[in-house]
């Protein structure tokens, strides 16, 4: 293969959820002079460590392109199934909390 020609290998995924969340925490907490540059560096470093599919996912996530109302209902049912709880209970908890995340963490 000629030098400089990019060869697509099977993805070698190394990022885990905690890594990504920690990096988003870091980006969110940057403040003061040079904030934009520092945030950009942190984001770029994260994307550098991501595979192509992960990059695409993260960028769509950051742009809000993954957000769809219909998925919330499906997720509520999935949480209920994972927890062996009635879906109504999860939906009610999510409604009270304003989003699915607290009900997913709060548990039965």
């Amino acid at each position: 293969m000629r030098p400089g020609v990019r060869r697509q290998l099977p993805p070698r995924a190394t990022l885990n959820l905690a890594d990504v969340n920690e990096r988003f925490d870091q980006i969110a907490s940057v403040s003061g002079p040079g904030t934009a540059r520092r945030k950009s560096e942190l984001l770029r470093d994260l994307l550098n460590r991501a595979t192509v599919d992960e990059q695409d996912f993260l960028i769509r996530l950051l742009f809000g392109e993954l957000r769809q109302g219909a998925l919330e209902g499906v997720l509520a049912e999935a949480i209920a199934r994972a927890a062996d709880l009635p879906a109504d209970r999860i939906r009610r908890a999510a409604m009270m909390a304003g989003s699915l995340r607290p009900s997913g963490e709060g548990g039965p």
């Binding site: 290998l9 190394t14 885990n16 959820l17 996912f57 392109e65 919330e72 999935a78 927890a83 995340r101």
Partner: protein, 166 residues
Amino acid sequence: MRRANIITQSETKRFPLVFWRHSVPTRRPYPLGDEFGRFEPFEGDGMSQDLEELADRNLAASFAGGKSSGDNSTAVIARWIEYDRLVRLDEIVATSNSVAKTDARLGKVEQLAALLKRLAADEIEIAVAFLSGSLPQGRIGVAGSVIASGRSAPAAATRDAQSGRR
């Protein structure tokens, strides 16, 4: 074969031991399960018999107040967990993509539920946020132009190919 089941990600870091399912009560309940974790433990290639025995000895030593076997076996097992048990981003991505391609609502629910069952407590909030298309932090204050420029960042696999690493 018995399977390894860690309690939480943070506890794994503090206590780098394999906790066998039903061997010890959890320090706090699983958010979606009972105190012994109804979540299906890791199902990978399986743990070798040797590692199982090492884990048992380490666990026994920890309860006896002693050190583990002293041959770095605890660290080995801890690394095994760190690598194999923590849910990777690509698993979320794969599920998200698969769900998007699935028409049947029940099929979507089943795929998402299967993923959620494998998550540790610390990971659930993050995964649910990601899967619903939002960030746990809400907004992180990065300009759209910066995000867009990220599309040109060399991905891990491509970079490895260029550098000859694998």
